[in-house]
Every structure is written in C-alpha cells, then in structure tokens.
Subunit: 248 residues, 2 copies
C-alpha cells in the first residue's frame, strides 16, 4: 500500500487563449477539483495563461516546485496553437520528439494511410514522459515528474481522470457538509466568526445565494476530520435555532 | 479625451476557497473578459487563490506590477472568510479602517438600527481607496492604484462593471471572427499553420467541438485590425473550399 501524503496539494495550469478571451467557459477546474477531494489532495492554486511558450515555461517551472501535483489542461492537440508538449519539454530541459508508445497507439488508431503530420504531432512528447491513457479520442496525455498534462476538451479530460487515480497519493479524504439558511450573511457573520475561532482547523465558508427569487446563505464546513465537521455543524445548528433562522 | 493605451492588459485574481474546492463554478472570468475586449484591454492571466492573507498579499504584490489592470473577485462581504479588503491594505502597506463615504452609503441603506457589525465591516477599506458603485446590493467595491476589487457574486459583479467603463483606458477594440467547420483538427492543422505563419500578428485559435452528436472545429481569428482579420479569413475560406470542407 502506498504511504499517505497528508500534505499533498495541487495546482492547475490552464493553457488556453480561448479561456482568457472569454470565448470558452472553463469547467475543468471544477471537474479536477471534485476528483481530487476524495483522493485527499487539496487544490490550492489555479492559473490561466496564454498559448505562449515563454509564459508556459516560466509558469510551469515556478509552480511545479510549490505543489505536489500540477495538472495542465489544453494545448496537446494537432494544431499550431497546441504548444504545451514542446513547452513542457523546454521547461524540464529535455528533448522533444516522437514517443515510441504514443506513436504506435496513434498509428494503430488512424491507420498508416491516415496518420498525417497533424496526427503525428500528437505523438511528439518530452523525452521519458509517461503516457496517460485516453479512452475517448486516443491521443494520450503525459506525465513528466509531478506535472500531469491533460487535454482541454472537458469530456475527454474527464474520461482520462479515472486511469490516473492510482498514480495520485493523497492524504485523508477532504469532507464537507453544507447547511443552507434563509438569512443574509450580515445577520450571521458574528456567530460564524466565533465558531470559526473555536474550530480553527476547520474551513468554514459562507456563500450568499439567490434561488427562485429568494436569497439565502450556504455555510460550507470542510475538513478531513468527520468529528470536527460534526461538532462544528452542531454549533451552527445551535445559533441557527436561537436566531430562529429557517434551514432550507 | 483620454489617450489610448495600446498595451493595456489585465489580470484577474479570484479569491475564494469555493472555486478551488470545486463547489462553485466561476463565471466571472468570462464576464470580465468579454467586457474588456471592446475596451481594448487584453486579459493575460487569471489566478485562483484561497482566502489566505499571506497568499493574497503575495499574489497582489507580484501581479500588480506586471499588468495594467488587476481585477480581484470575492472576499469583500461581511463574514469572517471575507478578507480581501484588509489583505489588500496590507499589500499596499496602508491602514485599513472605516471609509467615510462607504460608511454613509451603507448606514443609509440599512438604517441606523440595522447597521450591525457585519454590515459595518463592508465599510472598512484600505486608506484612500476609491469606491466602485454597487447598484444591486449597495456594498461598494474599491480601487486602489491599479487594483479593482469586486465581489464574487456574478450578478452583483456584472452590475458594477458598467460604472467602471470610464475608468479603464485601453487600446483598440479586440475583434474576433469565427468560422465553424465540419472537420477534425488534424485535417486542417498544416493549412492553418501556414496561414498563422503568414499572419503572425493575428491570433488564430483552433477549437474542436461536439454539438448534437456531430464533431467540428471552430477557428477563431483575433486581432485589433479588421483588415488583417478579413484577409486571414479569406485565406482560411480558400483552403476550406479546396479541401471541400463544409462550413456550418
């Protein structure tokens, strides 16, 4: 059994002009984060950067030293604006070229006659990269050191996460419990603050919402310790009762 | 008339555990970016960071020197986890306390009897901050130097952007034109690459899509120069015709 890594954390680097230009709504952060929580890996930073080699290199080299796992999304396709693989190779100062296994997988999938230059480009990876299996569209992602490079298309990315699970060593599952109240934040701010001070290792978040014309506040308690969440929840329930706030 | 700032760029700093935990899907990036494009300001980086003072201070101080405009979202509400204002004050090394104008606005809105501690907290800002008017829920955002602090709730944030327009000095509008093709990226990669090399100041993006069970590729051309977009578009149309690719 792998030894748990209590302090395992992660960052996501989204590589894509289309996110920065407002053309595309990112959804990969939510998907990766929700996948990491039960693995006991805390997502601690996200960066969105353009398809520019110097920026990719600088960002990866800065961030890979700060977090246990780095996930990149985007830029591993066949077109001219897909420059993640060669940029990551430069970041690690390794050569970039055909990856035997990736080449075989792609050649088999497309057939020799249809294995054109664009498709061959997807077999070019940093030297010694390990492949991430792609059950939807074949072109693999790759791992180099602690950097996991995934595609930008959300459905394809999601299909690849399953096969990655056994490569991630995290700590205890990150658990959360939510209580939704028919109130406004300023009415409960003081009580919540006191509870946060009492449970200083628990993460208590307060988020206003508007649903079907009604306002309310979601209180989210997050911790790896079920007991702490439960105790904290009880304290919240107590002040909620005292203040006659409706739970929705 | 204000002098245009051709090189105006921007970064967004999203302050919020709820985005990192996967609980909340961010939509503010798309909204701010789409608002910046016609103002001629290019969004060049996004960071998502947790509600932690030391990280907010470090990130703001690093990023505010690199970009013309910084927009922060989140953390300016009344609860304990709203720590943007005091963290920004520390980043700028200025005092943090009641802002006269903000205090008046909020006191008037809530009425003296209901102006409790949580609500008063929203009147505490970094010294000399200028207010950003909030037409939805009153609690103002603020500007200090080139840092524009906005709330995290998307509808409120959006309502505040209108009043900010005249404070942003950008360059030429960033224009874009899209052509959707019934093809796969690897079939057009080579032709697109040639066009990108010819039009090296134009940003050509290629994005696969899946719609109603059919696959295709969106090609997005982006530039401040309408002529260049038009010329580039014509070249794309030419190879599309030659290759008998259907435009959808």
């Amino acid at each position: 059994m792998k030894k748990a890594n209590k302090k395992a954390n992660a960052a996501i680097v989204i590589i894509g002009n289309e996110i920065l230009s407002g053309r595309t709504q990112d959804v990969n952060v939510v998907n990766i984060s929700k996948w990491l929580n039960p693995l006991g890996v805390r997502l601690e930073e996200v960066r969105v950067i353009p398809d520019k080699e110097d920026i990719i290199i600088k960002t990866i080299n800065e961030i890979r030293k700060k977090f246990t796992y780095i996930f990149t999304t985007g830029g591993i396709g066949p077109t001219h604006d897909d420059i993640t693989s060669q940029s990551i190779a430069k970041a690690f100062n390794v050569s970039y070229g055909y990856h035997k296994e990736a080449y075989k997988i792609l050649e088999k999938y497309y057939g020799k006659g249809k294995f054109n230059e664009g498709r061959k480009k997807m077999a070019k990876l940093p030297d010694k990269a390990k492949l991430i299996f792609n059950p939807s569209s074949t072109a693999p992602g790759f791992i180099i050191d602690n950097v996991y490079c995934l595609p930008g298309v959300p459905s394809i990315l999601k299909s690849m996460l399953g096969g990655l699970k056994n490569k991630i060593v995290g700590g205890k599952k990150i658990l959360s419990k939510t209580i939704n109240l028919r109130t406004v934040e300023s009415e409960i701010a003081l009580s919540l603050k006191k509870i946060q001070n009492k449970f200083n290792t628990v993460e208590i978040g307060s988020y206003p919402f508007f649903k079907q014309g009604k306002i309310g506040v979601s209180i989210v308690i997050r911790s790896t310790e079920e007991d702490l969440i439960s105790d904290c929840y009880k304290d919240i329930e107590n002040f909620v009762k005292k203040k006659n706030i409706i739970v929705v």
